[in-house]
């Protein structure tokens, strides 16, 4: 009987081209996703004089620099940003790779588009020059972000040198409490284990909560694996996964589908497989979460208060907290629900899928925003689906801006930023200093919580808002 293996080990082993004695492994890349920030990698490739080795396994889409108030180059904040989008077009043409360009309805954030198009599938090894590539692991794949030099390496060789990461299983025990979304689950995990806890590890999420999640919710969870430092995050593929992938444009069909599913069913970790590290979290400890500081680990249930650095025994942690509170303009002991916001942003590769927009719209319906607020769907197809369902009207009636797809205010590279000192309620993934613009203060939360904050003008426990709403009904 063969040694029981984890899902990570099974997928990894099947992608090994060369295993060197020194611990370096050359692994094969099934799908390589590029975006408009990948221009430098194409420049590096051009310098080598080599072609893209597997154009049929390379997909590109502009997202970081794309304008959201209109979707033509003329809508760009400036020529420099427009040039980033033009460069990707040129590179895609020159090297013969697929592009979902600005005017293509399928355009969107690369981590939304990959799964949406069926490009990302179980059992694959997927890379992209973006740290949130961990997203795609939600379908039962190994997916990780790489740097520009590595992107050029993959373009040229369809492979990448890696040291095999260690494995970590994060098990959440128990059922999901009322009002808790996928974003709350992953934020609670990161708050518990820390922003560097999973460095050098491939994480598998395990437990009934994840098994019961929709594929889109799992994408949200795995998206933020990198915020715990993980090399990648993954969830075992099951009937939910298969149903999600089936019928998508790049998914296998017919006989190929049967073959694929038969293989995918062999992927989940074997009973008795061992992980290098095990972490366990109880579900009933998880509540709707918000961040108060400048690292994703600085998160608490919305019912809490801004923590007091003075209570920290660890000197390094105390200094980091003091610095974070100073930047965020918060004082210890303040109730999180008393924090006033200036803007709300619903979008990003973490939370801009159709289910996210439905959840936010349900909170917003019949209410008015108290602060400027925007919704940026994750792709043109998400946008179209939302409009079919009338969600756009729910948002615009409430005073939200309803915009075109892209990374937008998650990273501010297209010019969608928050002014210095302003405070956002944001469904994105990083509350780093300056992430949403110089001096911007970011509070991360779920789409339901961001919607609640948008209509009340302060951080709000969406569970209380919901109950008020149902009484009114």
């Amino acid at each position: 009987m063969a040694q029981p293996r984890t899902m990570f080990e099974k997928i990894w082993d099947s992608h090994v081209i060369v295993d060197r004695d020194d611990g370096q492994t050359l692994v094969y890349v099934d799908r390589h996703l590029c975006h408009d920030g990948s221009f430098f990698a194409f420049d590096l490739l051009r310098d080598t004089g080599l072609p893209v080795r597997r154009p049929d396994q390379t997909f590109t889409v502009p997202d970081h620099y794309v304008p959201t108030r209109g979707h033509s180059l003329d809508d760009s904040a400036d020529e420099e940003r427009a040039e980033m989008i033009v460069k990707l077009d040129r590179n895609a043409k020159e090297f013969g790779v697929t592009i979902f360009g600005l005017s293509d309805r399928r355009q969107g954030i690369v981590h939304i588009v990959g799964p949406e198009q069926g490009i990302s599938q179980p059992g694959m090894l997927i890379v992209c020059g973006d740290s949130h590539t961990s997203t795609h692991g939600a379908l039962g794949a190994i997916a990780f972000g790489i740097g520009a030099s590595e992107v050029s390496h993959v373009l040229a060789t369809q492979s990448i040198w890696q040291r095999r990461p260690k494995t970590m299983r994060i098990t959440v025990t128990g059922e999901r409490p009322f009002g808790v979304l996928a974003k709350d689950v992953i934020m609670a995990i990161i708050a518990r284990i820390g922003a560097g806890a999973a460095l050098g590890h491939a994480v598998e999420y395990s437990g009934p909560i994840f098994a019961a999640m929709s594929a889109e919710e799992r994408l949200t969870v795995c998206n933020m694996s990198i915020e715990a430092g993980a090399r990648c995050g993954m969830i075992a593929p099951d009937e939910t996964t298969f149903a999600y992938v089936k019928g998508r444009p790049y998914a296998p069909a017919g006989e190929a589908w049967q073959k694929a599913v038969a293989y995918w069913k062999t992927l989940p970790s074997d009973p008795g497989a061992t992980f290098d590290k095990e972490v366990s979290v109880e579900a009933d400890e998880i509540a709707p979460m918000v961040t108060w500081g400048t690292s994703p680990e600085d998160a608490l249930p919305i019912t809490g208060e801004v923590p007091d650095p003075a209570e920290q025994a660890d000197g390094g942690r105390r200094a980091a907290m003091e610095k974070a509170l100073d930047y965020m303009g918060l004082v210890p002991g303040m109730k999180l629900t008393d924090i006033q916001i200036d803007k709300a942003f619903i979008g990003s590769c973490t939370n801009s899928r159709i289910e996210d927009l439905r959840i936010a719209a349900a909170v917003v319906k019949g209410r008015r925003v108290a602060v400027p607020a925007m919704v940026v769907p994750g792709s043109g197809l998400v946008k179209r689906q939302a409009e079919k369902e009338g969600l756009d009207r729910v948002f615009t009636d409430a005073g939200f801006e309803w915009l075109e797809s892209g990374c937008s205010m998650c990273v501010g590279m297209n010019g969608d930023t928050i002014d210095p000192g302003e405070r956002s309620a944001s469904t994105s993934n990083r509350n780093f200093e300056g992430r949403q613009g110089p001096g911007a203060r970011t509070h991360l939360m779920s789409p339901a919580m961001a919607a609640a904050a948008a209509v009340s003008g302060r951080l709000t426990d969406v569970r209380e808002l919901s109950s008020t709403s149902s009484e009114e009904d």
Binding site: G23, D130, G147, S149, H153, A195, G229, W257, M413
Partner: protein, 204 residues
């Protein structure tokens, strides 16, 4: 890539933890050409300069003893967050060729090697001791020798460090990975041929 063999230079202590690449280089500089003459000013830009462009005197690299620093000694999870390789380029534009920390963001760690910058992982206590030593003797220099995998701290003590043999080989020779990988072309081809048979559904 410029080879890395040994380095003797001023080391700067960087006390913050979880230093993300958005801080190392804010995203608005990512579209700038790599040969921009102001590239060095992008490093730590928003914590290093005031809005009017003047230096913040408190920031470590703005202080006289550390202006020529080429080695950075940090805490845990340095270079976490975004995969932006320009974080390494911004360090290089300021002369940095080595970063010592108790842990690194995985992608940043790899990006360093791919650009001839040596990231050295040390124990948390070692990183803390080195930083304390550098604070105690501002402008102290350190020497890093890659071949024997040693460095000397500000206290004059010699420390050994681990480095991946493959990465070390590339750094010492200034070799880029694509060239090395192409030597495995037969293996890649053989893998692909077999793989396409076994996973026919991936290749409609």
């Amino acid at each position: 890539m410029e080879p890395f063999t040994s380095l003797t230079a001023t080391a700067a202590p960087f006390d913050a933890v979880n230093v993300d690449t958005d801080q190392i280089i804010p995203s608005r500089f990512m579209r700038k050409p790599r040969d921009d003459e102001n590239y060095h000013t992008f490093l730590f830009h928003d914590i290093r300069y005031d809005e009017d462009g003047s230096e913040k005197p408190d920031f470590i690299l703005n202080q006289a003893p550390y202006r020529d620093a080429r080695i950075l000694v940090a805490g845990h999870n340095f270079g976490c967050g975004s995969s932006r390789e320009v974080a390494v380029l911004a360090l290089m534009a300021n002369g940095f060729r080595a970063v010592i920390a108790s842990s690194f963001g995985d992608i940043f760690f790899n990006n360093c090697f791919n650009n001839g910058v040596l990231p050295i992982r040390v124990a948390d206590e070692t990183a803390a001791r080195l930083r304390a030593g550098l604070h105690a003797s501002p402008g102290a220099s350190m020497t890093i020798e890659l071949e024997p995998q040693t460095f000397t701290g500000p206290d004059g003590a010699t420390y050994e460090f681990d480095v991946d043999p493959f990465r070390k080989h590339c750094l010492l020779g200034g070799l880029d990975a694509i060239g090395l990988t192409l030597e495995y072309e037969n293996e890649i081809k053989a893998f692909e041929d077999r793989y396409r048979q076994e996973r026919s559904w991936l290749y409609p």
